[in-house]
Structures are given as C-alpha cells and as structure tokens.
C-alpha cells in the first residue's frame, strides 16, 4: 500500500511551476521596463 502523499505531490508541483512562472514574469517585467526606457527620448 503506497503512502498517502498526494498533498506533498501537489505542493511539489505548485512550487516547481510557481518558481518557473515567477521567473518568467520577472523576465517579462524587466524586458518591458527596459523597452520603455529605450523608447523614452534621451534627455
């Protein structure tokens, strides 16, 4: 009889996918900010 570790599995995948999504978001935000800076007229 396998141990009932369903909750741990869900937590595991949540953390893995959560970290990946968080990093992807950080990439998108940083790229957006840099693009905005690039398009602003230079002072």
């Amino acid at each position: 009889m396998p141990a009932n570790t369903l909750n741990e599995m869900i937590l595991g995948f949540a953390v893995i996918l959560g970290t990946l999504i968080a990093y992807t978001l950080s990439l998108i935000i940083r790229t957006k900010a840099t693009k905005k800076k690039k398009n602003e007229p230079r002072q």
Binding site: N4, M9, G12, Y23, T31, K37
Partner: protein
Amino acid sequence: MNVLKKPILLVILDILTLVLVPAAVVLVVFFTPVEAVMGPVQKVFYFHVSAAWAGMLCFIIGAVTGGAYLLTRRLHWDWLSTSSIEVGLVFALIAILSGMIWARPIWNTWWVWDPRLTTTAIMTLVYLAYFILRSGLNTQETRARLGAVYAIVAVLTVPLTFFSIRLFRTIHPVVIATGGGDGPAFNMSPRMLTALFASLFVFTLMLIDLVWHRYRLAQLQYETSPEVN
C-alpha cells in the same frame, strides 16, 4: 539590427515550451504509475531530476561561454554566460525546493546534511556569489572579464555535485546507477523511464527558451544604456 523583433525560431520555441511543459505535467501526474512505497509524491522526482540536470547544464554553458568571452572579448558571449547562470540558478533552486518537499514525507525531515544535498547547496551559494561579485563591479567590461573567470572556477562545483553520490556515502537515491554508488538505486518501470526522458527533454527545451529570452534582455539593456551597463 532591431533587437525588438523576435526571431521566428524563438516564437516556435516559445509555443513548444508553452505546450510541452503542461503536457509533461499531465503525463507525469496522470500517466505514470504510483510508486509502491512512496506514493504520489514520488512523481515530483521527474521534474526534480530534470531541473537539476538543466541547472548543471546551464552552469557548464556559463563557464564555456565565459571562456569564449575571454578568448574573443566580444560582449555577446558575456550576455550568454550571465544569462545561462541566472537561469541555472532558478533551476538549481527548483531542484533543491522540490527535493525538500519530497524528503519531508520520505526522510521525515526537510533537510539532511547528506553529501549530495550539501554539494548542491554549495553549488547554489557559489553561483549566488557570482551575482554579488558582478553587482559590485563598475563597467560592463570588468563585469564580463571577472565574471567569466569566476564562472570558470565556479564550474568545478558541478562535477563535485554530480559525482558526490559516487565519492561519498549518501542516502540520496541514485538514478544514473552506472559505476555504482552507495545510495539506494531504485528500479524504474519502462513507463517511468519514458516519463523521465520526456521531462528531461522538455526541461532542456525550456532552458534554451529561457536563456534566449534572458540573452535578449541583456542585449536590450546594453543598447538602452551602453555606458552604464
């Protein structure tokens, strides 16, 4: 060259990653057998191994492209080097966190000072220090040059981590059991093996995709303000 324009190959890679990562989750969660002792939490293992693999591959790419920078002194090698190391750090973090979640019900503790866990933690700290070093340096050229030297020295921790289960006594399970380690190897059914290879493939694709995007960001940052960056 307009850096804002996305190459067609990157678009294809984006779509592939966005489709294949959820597909891999579905494959692992619903189409692999439940391990007889550990139960469902064992399924974390497929992504755990893939993340560790992707992280180490990133660090190796970081060192190789660092070496390429030192030889050619062209900044785009540095962009690639620092991008791979940043993405590698994310994957290493995922490997550690998912391992801890697996260890909680199986070893009954979040963390043990096992050689494999210790060397992985050391490797992650070493690459955290890489960004601390870079943030203290003033010009793009010194960041690239000193970062490359550091990346090459730091990559020594990758084989140390990979072979730690062969060199020392460990309770960490051995997956690639050729050569024999001390740790408990566990036998995978053909379906488990297929899922593992599928995860490894998907994570490798995702690695290329993420590094590519991070590289484009570095390029964009350089073109926006070349004098400060």
